[in-house]
């Protein structure tokens, strides 16, 4: 390539030279002297440099050459101003890096199709309450699935799957442990179109066979060491022999993450035999069928189904895209959080670009002379703009390259630390689409920060610029106004981000500091699951729990301990409440709000939940004594307003209505807990507590308060329980604080990230202001030198600089407040106990911003006021 070009250059020179000689010879023939002829020929030829450039243009590939020239010129220019270059590249690296990292999340959660065969046609059918369309969707029944499967035309495949199922005890593969085996229909895997890594997935023949399972990759590795011999082997789930038919590949993921394997729902499964079993129905739409059309069809089928329990009065089916539901189920605020944070990081990048545009504008004033010289030597305006844009591109590409490294690091840490649950499907990664985004970001940012300065700089007035010295060049009024506007915009955008960060931080702090009604310090919990086959009778379970508690109570490090069927902050509603002498409330999401919790007699004492009225459970509340219940204040507020609940009789009609009436013997204070579908709140679930002896579930949590902060006693307790029965699986030990902070993980991470973005924005805005002010000082140093020499006070310059700084800051704050007020409405659902227009937050962050910019101004003004008049005058 190079030799080709050199040869061409030489030939062109030779060609032009021979033309010149011929011309000169001709002119000489017509009577001119040799010198005159030479001169006339040169004049006839014109600007040889320009001709060469134009000819080169015709060769093609010239742009590459020119580009290389521009790049090397730009690189040289940058090495001359290493400080400026470093600031710009760092700004871009941070801005582009943060944006790339956020985009990789956006891509994984919102954009990239699920890694299934026909992701755009995969849907899930839920049911939702007609009376309250905004309430979260609920499961379908197995009968609905059967009706839709036989009656609908819209779907290529339908399969039920459910996570409203209990864990099962796995035996015969190491120590007994509880696993979640998700029951799914026969078409589940073929609907998703994912091939197994090993063996096969379910097929119709399996419906007539016994229990069959497909394993998740990680479960296969952990339990079977990744042996291929696992195919055809039997594993025991609740003592059922299940044959392993296949293993899914490592990248296969479905909701929920806890599912370690999938079991097939056969006609003899519990789920299929009870038509009311709660399942989700997953479906593959036929090509060309819209969600609306399919929804109309299943709604019609639902209405016409005579066996339907609810007759279509209370609920109706609704269809959602699968990807959207994955995100929603994983975190109801996930999509919004991701969008808000991506918006925020775009602001940061925009501020970064404004800042660089600002710095470049400042620099272009100093470069005016250089550009004027180049223009005088024949560089066209387009060429000058191209040169300046090439410089911008060189900066942005370098910044983007560093930014990609930053994003890779950030994504790596995100995946290692795993701070929040992420939806199944696409792991967050800096993949090709993300890199393509970053590449376009590099070009976009270069245009954003490079175009205006390049345009301005190319409009040089030659004579003026050449005459002016570097120190008197001011860049003109328009350029100065532009730079001021840029700084105001930077301040405004960073204020908006600060407001958002302030609101989110306050929200999570307030949410975290709400007293939940039980002190969580040193509280440790572990789940215990009694095998159903060995503990079929209630009294067997009750006896085991009593024995386990007796042993735990003897341990020296345990202050108090108890059993509960659900952890505090996890008492979920879902039942209707029947009160003796009152009609059963009609079915609605609001009425289905009562939770039932079985607790041992020491529960309230161990948790520190006070008994307000009546009594706590006693050891005498055994299986033979009258059925009793304790209710919480939330239940009293809702169902016994202005009545005395003590002595009243209640029951939870679902799922079994033949249960005995329960007499209320006490009222306890509320425990606040998670509201899964409204994550930015705590909920006081109306709860009915039952003595564990009268209603012993097969799965409970042992909760205890340790004397020290360590979870060490848990190991001792595990050993003690193993001596009672070593076939009883004990799940993961966790502290209640861990449980609570997991519930706060989304709001917490959101606030931290937004605060980091806002901090970065503030820093950039401060740098921008500093740069504009220092230029102002540079321009007026001479003037002030003269003035001081004539006896003016130093404070004059100081005042001028501070006045300018404050003016820009306050204009920025005013504009920023307007932006903030128009945007914070978007994050209303992410806030807790603070309004989007909270005046204290607005005032607080404005003050913070003003202080930071004042500091920047002050540092600069101090430097400026030390100007020595003599030095300033010597500039001339």
């Amino acid at each position: 390539m190079r030799w080709w070009r050199r040869k061409h250059e030489e030939e062109l020179d030779r060609e032009l030279r021979s033309d010149l000689e011929l011309e000169a010879a001709e002119r000489a023939e017509s009577g001119l002297s040799p010198e005159e002829a030479q001169y006339a020929a040169k004049r006839a030829l014109g600007n040889a440099g320009l001709i060469r450039e134009d000819v080169r243009e015709m060769w093609g590939g010239a742009w590459l050459d020119r580009f290389r020239q521009d790049v090397s010129y730009a690189a040289r220019a940058f090495t001359r101003t290493p400080g400026f270059t470093t600031v710009v590249i760092l700004t871009l690296a941070l801005g582009i890096g943060a944006t790339t990292a956020m985009f990789s999340v956006v891509n994984a959660v919102l954009l990239h199709p699920l890694p299934f065969r026909n992701p755009d046609r995969l849907v899930v059918i839920w049911e939702r309450f007609i009376s309250n369309p905004n309430s979260p969707p609920v499961f379908d029944s197995y009968r609905d699935f059967e009706n839709w499967k036989s009656g609908s035309q819209s779907f290529e495949r339908l399969a039920p799957a459910t996570w409203k199922a209990e864990g099962q005890i796995l035996t015969g593969a190491g120590p007994a442990r509880e696993v979640f085996a998700m029951p799914v229909g026969v078409d589940f895997f073929s609907l998703l179109g994912v091939a197994p890594e090993l063996g096969r997935t379910f097929q119709p023949d399996d419906l007539r066979a016994g229990c069959t399972v497909v394993l998740k990759h990680s479960f296969w590795i952990d339990t079977f060491g990744g042996q291929t011999g696992v195919l055809g082997r039997h594993i025991e789930l609740n003592q059922n022999a299940c044959s392993v038919v296949g293993v899914m590949p490592p990248e296969f993921a479905f909701y929920p993450d806890a599912a370690a394997l999938w079991t097939l729902i056969t006609p003899v499964s519990d789920i299929a035999r009870d038509p009311k079993s709660a399942v989700g129905v997953f479906a593959l739409l036929k090509p060309g069928v819209s969600i609306q059309r399919a929804q109309q069809e299943v709604q019609a089928l639902y209405r016409n189904s005579p066996s339907n329990d609810m007759g279509g009065i209370h609920v109706k089916p609704a269809i959602y895209p699968l990807a959207e539901q994955f995100a929603y189920l994983t975190g109801p605020t996930l999509r919004l959080s991701v969008m808000v944070l991506f918006g925020a990081v775009s602001f940061v990048l925009l501020i970064g670009c404004l800042n660089i545009a600002n710095l470049l504008l400042g620099k272009s004033v100093a470069r005016q002379k250089e550009l004027a010289v180049r223009a005088a030597l024949g560089s066209g305006r387009a060429r000058l703009i191209r040169q300046l844009l090439t410089e911008a591109l060189l900066l942005s590409v370098t910044g983007a390259a560093l930014g990609i490294l930053l994003a890779l690091t950030a994504v790596h840490y995100f995946r290692t630390l795993n701070p929040i649950p992420m939806p199944p499907g696409n792991p967050v990664s800096v993949n090709l689409p993300v890199l393509a985004f970053t590449a376009s970001l590099a070009v976009l940012t270069a245009l954003l920060f490079g175009l205006v300065p390049a345009w301005k700089a190319s409009r040089v007035d030659l004579t003026d610029a050449l005459r002016a010295t570097a120190h008197t060049a001011s860049g003109g009024l328009a350029a100065r106004t532009l730079r001021r506007v840029l700084v105001v915009a930077e301040v405004a955008l960073s204020l908006a981000l600060l407001v958002g960060a302030g609101l989110l931080i306050q929200s999570v702090e307030r949410l975290a500091s709400v007293p939940l009604g039980f002190p969580t310090d040193r509280m440790i919990a572990m789940p215990i699951t009694l095998p159903k086959w060995a503990y079929a009778a209630e009294n067997q379970r009750a006896r085991f729990y009593r024995a386990a508690l007796d042993r735990t109570a003897l341990l020296p490090d345990v202050a108090s301990s108890a059993f509960a069927s659900s952890l505090p902050a996890n008492h979920f509603g879902g039942s209707l409440l029947a009160i003796e002498g009152k009609p059963v409330p009609t079915l609605s999401p609001a009425a289905l709000d009562v939770g039932q919790v079985s607790v041992s007699s020491g529960y309230f004492r161990a948790l520190g939940v006070p008994i307000l009225v009546g009594r706590a459970f006693e050891d005498s509340d055994g299986e033979k004594s009258p059925a009793v219940a304790i209710v919480n204040q939330a239940l009293v507020r809702e169902y016994f307003a202005n009545e005395n609940p003590i002595g009243r009789r209640i029951k939870l009609p679902q799922p079994k209505t033949d249960r005995p009436w329960l007499t209320i013997v006490g009222v306890v204070a509320d425990e606040k807990g998670e509201d899964f579908f409204h994550p930015m709140s705590w909920k006081e679930t109306p709860a009915v507590f039952r003595p564990v002896d009268q209603d012993p579930p097969s799965r409970v949590y042992l909760v205890f308060r340790a004397l020290t902060g360590s979870t060490a006693p848990a190991a001792t307790i595990q050993k003690q329980i193993a001596t009672l029965d070593n076939n009883v699986p004990i799940g993961d030990v966790q502290t209640l604080n861990e449980d609570i902070s997991r519930k706060l993980s989304y709001p917490h991470l959101r606030a931290v990230i937004l605060a980091a973005f806002a901090g970065l924005a503030l820093l950039l805005a401060a740098i921008g202001l500093y740069a504009v002010l220092s230029q102002l000082i540079a321009q007026r140093t001479r003037e002030f030198g003269v003035r001081m020499a004539l006896g003016a006070q130093r404070s004059g310059l100081l005042k001028l600089v501070i006045r300018e700084g404050m003016l820009l800051t306050f204009a920025g704050i005013a504009a920023g407040l307007i932006i903030a007020l128009s945007l914070t409405g978007l994050i209303g659902s992410l806030l807790y106990d603070v309004k989007a227009t909270d005046p204290w937050t607005l005032a607080g962050v404005s003050l913070l911003l003003a202080l930071v910019t004042l500091l920047a101004t002050y540092i600069l003004a101090r430097r400026a006021s030390r100007v020595d008049p003599m030095v300033a005058l010597k500039y001339e």
């Binding site: 060609e15 014109g46 600007n47 001709i51 134009d54 060769w59």
Partner: protein
């Protein structure tokens, strides 16, 4: 700066026409750049002055398009080499096309400018 005509304008002004004139000149036989320029100038009684700044880029462009080819050859009357351009087969076709286009254009312009002569 402003006295130098913009490159874009120069090319717009001359491109199509100059290309055709160069091709037509080469129809007479291979010539080097200087000869082509002089030929156009002399044939039109100095009416058309071909600027070097237009001629050489045009020659290189035509060569790149494959309409003309070049070779360094010794001139018959002088003892030195010149870069001779000659018309290729593709160039001949191109010339015919350009010519008929130009004729059409000239007729169309004439119809507007001197309608009486047509009637």
């Amino acid at each position: 700066m402003s006295s130098v005509p913009k490159k874009a304008e120069r090319i717009e002004l001359l491109q199509g026409t100059l290309d055709m004139l160069i091709l037509r000149t080469l129809l007479l036989g291979p010539s080097h750049g200087h000869q082509i320029g002089k030929h156009i100038q002399r044939t039109t009684d100095d009416l058309l002055q071909v600027q070097h700044g237009s001629l050489y880029p045009a020659l290189h462009r035509l060569e790149r398009k494959g309409w003309i080819a070049s070779k360094w050859e010794t001139a018959p009357d002088r003892n030195r080499e010149f870069k001779y351009y000659r018309l290729t087969a593709a160039g001949r076709k191109r010339l015919l096309k350009e010519e008929s286009k130009w004729k059409q254009m000239a007729r169309a312009v004439a119809q507007i400018m001197w309608p009486a002569e047509e009637g």
